[in-house]
Symmetry: C2
Subunit: 254 residues, 2 copies
Amino acid sequence: MHYQNPTTNLSNLASRPDARQLDFSGSWDIDSLKQIILEEGLRSSIQRGKFVFRQGEVVDKIYLIQSGCVAFTRHCAEGHRQVLDFFYRESVFSDLTEDSRPTTFSAQCLLDTQAYALSKASLRRIATITPEIFQTLNSLMLRLLSQAYDSLYNIGCRHGVERVAFTLCKIFDGFNAGIDVDSARFDCNIPIRQIDIADAIGVTPVYLNQILKSLKEDGVIDINKGTINININNIKILKDICNYEEFSSIKRFI
Amino acid sequence: MHYQNPTTNLSNLASRPDARQLDFSGSWDIDSLKQIILEEGLRSSIQRGKFVFRQGEVVDKIYLIQSGCVAFTRHCAEGHRQVLDFFYRESVFSDLTEDSRPTTFSAQCLLDTQAYALSKASLRRIATITPEIFQTLNSLMLRLLSQAYDSLYNIGCRHGVERVAFTLCKIFDGFNAGIDVDSARFDCNIPIRQIDIADAIGVTPVYLNQILKSLKEDGVIDINKGTINININNIKILKDICNYEEFSSIKRFI
DNA sequence: CGACGATTTGAGATCTTTCAACGTTGGTGG
DNA sequence: CCACCAACGTTGAAAGATCTCAAATCGTCG
């Protein structure tokens, strides 16, 4: 962590990087942002099912997940729910719309979750000295958009089995991102409820269960007490089913 | 247009607005960006069906539509196509991923289109003096994300009729944005092919046609020679069908 | 044990796709 | 002017995918 105390050295403003770097090009360093949230943010525990924020509220914080899983969701009057995106350990998420605008989606914990929260105001203060942070926020938004387009394509162009395979692969990779296959932390269990997966791919829980059953009968996945388990040797089969390689953005951002 | 020649006055860098404005808050002025593209960009005509850029290419320009209609699309090996977003007259679009990264979607003209194209390099040069441009790019990205989430919800949670109604309303509003109802330019015809609408809502053209037929029988829309026509008095019915008011983000960005 | 939430199963209803054929339109060349 | 062609829209019927409903099972927690 090398950002400076913003109150002591405002003259540094003149030495900030030139505008060519403050921009949609170049590479962004998301780890610095994570570090800031980790050191400056407040830690909180949130139970499964609870909301970090709800659609219609004004989101004034940015979050870093330490453990657990959070999803962006949108709810409608009739009670339907669409899962828009998943976030796992080490993910940063927030609603980055203009301040004081209510957000159009909720952030809901799919597992018991521990997260650090830093107010946008604090981040803005820190960014006075290190405006590279805005590049990182850009990068975050690009990731969101990329995932959204992937999901749109997945739901719009494909049938149930492929949708399920794609989402399972995505979740699998999300939970095991940066973890060595031989590591004890590497886990083939998918700790997400079937209901949540169903809401992510636009399918009924009942029908999802049928699809899972057929995948189990084909030997691609295991199911123990309702928990999906993907053997490391079978993940390749799943990826073939959904043409996972087509989704280059996945490889780019996770 | 008030941006200055970037080569003459680099000392202006020190007087740029402070970081609080260079940020995800505040209001953005998209009209300035449009003005820049209009004055500095090159005009080109593109036929219906042609691509402005294709997935896998590196996008090095930013575009402003003068007339016509462009869609972001994603194609897969089997020939399926998903329409991700629509852009109309006065819309600005581009792929804002980091430079030299290939884009993951295509921009395809759904109508004969006239557009101004400005290279990102030029924009960057101009932004040296007016870094507020980056705020506008942020705003653009937020619009894309918001639309993507709307579409995800629309496709994931709803049946054919509602999906069609929503997309028709969106296109209708898109083409008539900023045009007075009594104006001669106000047009109740939807000049988009049924095939393109079908690809946007994840439905077969044949089935879309059935849905349109039933909407016609209910008196909600007219169809002349394959062209959909929405009477100004009936648009409210369509909006009721799809609960259009739920999608607050639409009202916010169009 | 009892209550609750989640998963599982089966069967029928409904939605959506596929296939195949036909109609219309607009452009092109003779 | 006409014949022809390609692209798009339209229609009907059967096949397939998905949903709904209802009931059973299972695991967890108090």
